[in-house]
């Protein structure tokens, strides 16, 4: 006998409230990107249009150069992080290493301490050696911060590759480099891809380090967002926020495809 479920009402109310809490602010941001005229106490903008988009995307606009800077910094950060993390991850997963647990933990340090005082002192040091306000300086800060993802995920990705396959390649005469390049690396590629995306997004979104080491010469998107917002220019700030949001949301939707459960279960081990 079917009985009527009276709990649908509180359930619907709570889920609706949660949806409002999560999507309300996001909708608000979307409205600001197309609001030409919007003032209190009108619930919705009075005029819609894309004139601010034109301003942001005009070839000489600040946003285009910030976007280019951000992508350049993030790409260099990914290349440098992987160059450091692939050998380290391979050693941590395959080779005998003294103090292995402690070494893994060492990469967590930049996430486990409040990093603002560190950035302040890096900025002071970089200023003395002329690295402050340069792309290289910002990349170094981002690499240090993102290395934990790169190394931990790379280690997990190599651990998830069956060692038999590597040994089979070695037993039919492949050298260690050849076995690594032709067998282990391709099999670990999806996991390494995930760590590359992680590092890219971390770098794209990083604010505090760029604020101290980069500004005002290296103007990344988060810095542009901050200046636009403190100047009260909510349209430009919201469009910049949207540019930063799209890769993040996109990543959330595809992350499970790259980071399979067998790799995920080995992270941090």
């Amino acid at each position: 006998m079917a009985r009527f479920d009276f709990w649908w009402l509180p359930r619907a109310v709570i889920l609706g409230l949660l949806a409002f809490i999560i999507f309300g602010p996001l909708t608000n941001m979307l409205l600001w990107t197309v609001a030409e005229k919007w003032y209190f106490p009108h619930m919705l903008p009075l005029e819609y249009g894309f004139s601010f988009w034109e301003r942001v995307f005009s070839p000489r606009g600040n946003a285009m150069s910030s976007l280019a800077t951000s992508i350049l910094v993030a790409s260099l950060t990914v290349v440098a992080s992987l160059a450091l993390a692939v050998p380290a991850g391979y050693a941590l997963s395959r080779l005998k290493l003294p103090f292995r647990g402690l070494i893994l933990l060492a990469f967590l340090i930049p996430q486990a301490f409040p990093n603002l005082p560190v950035y302040v002192n890096i900025a002071r040091f970089f200023y003395q050696i002329g690295l402050n306000g340069t792309i290289a300086g910002v990349v170094m800060v981002h690499v240090t911060h993102g290395l934990v993802y790169a190394v931990w995920i790379a280690t997990a990705a190599f651990s998830a590759v069956q060692i038999d396959l590597e040994e089979a390649a070695r037993s039919i005469g492949a050298g260690p480099m050849r076995a690594f390049r032709d067998v282990t690396l391709p099999l670990a590629a999806p996991g390494l891809m995930a760590s590359a995306i992680f590092v890219f997004l971390e770098s794209l979104d990083e604010f505090t380090g760029s604020y101290f080491v980069g500004a005002p010469d290296v103007n990344t998107l988060p810095l542009l967002l901050y200046t636009a917002s403190s100047g009260g220019n909510y349209q430009i700030a919201s469009i910049t926020a949207l540019l930063l949001l799209i890769p993040s949301i996109g990543f959330m939707l595809v992350v499970e495809r790259f980071l399979r459960a067998d790799v995920l279960s080995k992270v941090g081990h």
Binding site: W7, L15, L18, I22, G24, P25, L26, T27, N28, M29, L31, W32, F40, P41, M43, L44, L84, A85, P87, A88, Y90, A91, K96, L97, P98, I103, A106, F107, I109, P110, Q111, F113, P114, N115, L116, P117, V118, Y119, V120, N121, I122, V143, T144, L147, V151, L204, D205, F207, Y211, P222, L225, Y226, S229, S230, A237, S238, L244, S248, I249, M252
Partner: protein
Amino acid sequence: MRKNLLAILLVLPALVMIVLFFIVPLIASILGAFEVGDAWGLGNFRKSFELYSGDMIFTVVIVTVSTALIGIFSIAIGGYLTLGENPRAVAILRWLYRWPMFIPFIVVGQILRTFLAKNGLMNNIFVSLGVLTPLQTVGFLDWRGIVIAFVWKQTPFVTLLVAGAMASLDRSTIEAARNLGASRLRILIEIVLPQISGTLLVGLILSFVTMMSVLSVPLMINAQSPTMLTADIAFRINAHGDYGVANALGMISLILTTGVALIYLRQTMKERS
């Protein structure tokens, strides 16, 4: 032996990076806190307490309240995902709760700044619905705004960890308690929660540290006094070039963070023994 050396050589460049660009500046910051002019002393700390003791309390209260709320919400969401009996509601919740997780803090600051302001969308909706009159609206861009921003952004992360731990629990004890007539709330508190408290703790400590070092949210939502220590540090550097007090404030926030981590660690040790 040769293999050992090779392994060390492969890990070394990455480790050097951490030492050079994190551990050395961290030590420099601790030493810098005691540097007054050309001598060593506690002058920076004296000045910090004189100028910013209100902000220290403000920071601790904000981060503690946020951590508590994040804990409560993540247990509630994770608990419903594990014990909920309506498959459609569970599926909707699973899809819904994750959205803010990957949104950067600076973007969270911007979107909540426009949403929660006195003349923001939230109040505009209430006014249009007739719940409030324009004169009754209040802005939330003070300590409440910072707490809302932190909880909004960090709850999905802790929930993800908590829900994962809950999903891998042995279902048989839950089913047994259910058959004996225990309510779901009681199962959550007495059976599920004790088994996942370790994961919850790790998630909350990581969130606590993250919130202690976020600069963009206090700058975007509430940069006037009282504000958080991170905003004060930035102000000391940018307005005064005063590295001594900035480093002292940094060390104080470091001590607060380690203190909290230690209290929790001791708590778990006690529970286990």
